[in-house]
């Protein structure tokens, strides 16, 4: 398991290759890359600054990676979340999951993204023409995260 918080960009292909190199037990690799968009519901944005809770963010993400590993038969997980100021087109977050089969890799990647959107201690500040605004949490993200509650191994994505 790799969990990293960093200002620097990441390379999704390289991170996936680090998980698969030299192995013959992995049948499925899923990568999710979240990217800063130039247009949100409230209009064009010029930039976005990601604040996080150092110390808590890394530990919390690691705990959820462990939960994903207990729910699905994963062979590897990498989560990288950037912080600091990003402009449209910049990478924000990467989740890579590997497993023998695709269902576990897909479900775990979605579970981790739903978690990162709603429970990981990060906050987005958008900059648009002359003003800044903290992004409000979306109800749809809360609903997406809630769908995993109380579901057991291998049945959460059904």
């Amino acid at each position: 398991m790799t969990v990293r918080l960093q200002r620097e960009d990441f390379d999704a292909g390289r991170e996936a290759a680090l998980l698969t190199h030299g192995r013959t037990d992995i049948g499925a690799v899923v990568t999710f890359t979240g990217i800063c968009r130039g247009r949100e519901a409230a209009g064009e944005i010029a930039a976005m600054t990601l604040e996080h809770y150092p110390g808590m963010a890394e530990a919390e993400i690691a705990r959820h990676v462990e939960e994903a590993k207990s729910r699905w038969p994963l062979l590897g997980v990498t989560v990288i979340h950037r912080y600091g100021r990003l402009v449209p087109g910049d990478n924000i977050v990467l989740v890579v999951t590997t497993s023998a089969h695709r269902d576990a890799a897909f479900a775990a990647a979605e579970f981790l993204m739903d978690y990162l959107k709603t429970k990981a201690p990060f906050w987005k500040l958008e900059e648009r023409a002359g003003e800044t605004r903290w992004v409000e949490a979306k109800q749809s993200d809360g609903a997406a995260a809630d769908r995993w509650r109380g579901k057991g191994r291998n049945e959460a994505a059904e």
Binding site: G34, L50, E51, H52, Y53, G55, M56, A57, A59, E60, H81, I92, V93, M113, L116, K117, T118, K119, A120, P121, F122, W123, K124, L125, W134, V135, E136, A137, D141
Partner: protein
């Protein structure tokens, strides 16, 4: 105990962290929010809607009814928007 603030809670309070010693009647996270809100205008503004304030004790999310006894670091912040 140490308090830390993030996002617009930090902006409204006007500081990133502080050390406090609440009176003995302040038992829970909810009590602490009420006590803080009465400390001044900036706190009243930051905590004007306690329902949307999230809290963590020693870097673990906790609900408002959680006891604060023994806490080293309590964090307050709005709903998270990572990912």
């Amino acid at each position: 105990m140490k308090l830390v603030y993030f996002s617009w809670v930090r902006e409204r309070v006007g500081k990133t962290q502080e050390d406090i010693a609440p009176p003995t009647g302040v038992m829970t996270v909810a009590d602490l929010i009420g006590w803080l809100a009465a400390r001044g205008e900036e706190y009243a503004y930051a905590f004007e809607n306690p329902k949307i304030i999230r809290a963590a004790i020693d870097r673990t999310h906790v609900p408002p009814e959680t006891a604060i006894a023994g806490a080293r670091e309590i964090a307050f912040f709005p709903p998270m928007t990572g990912g």
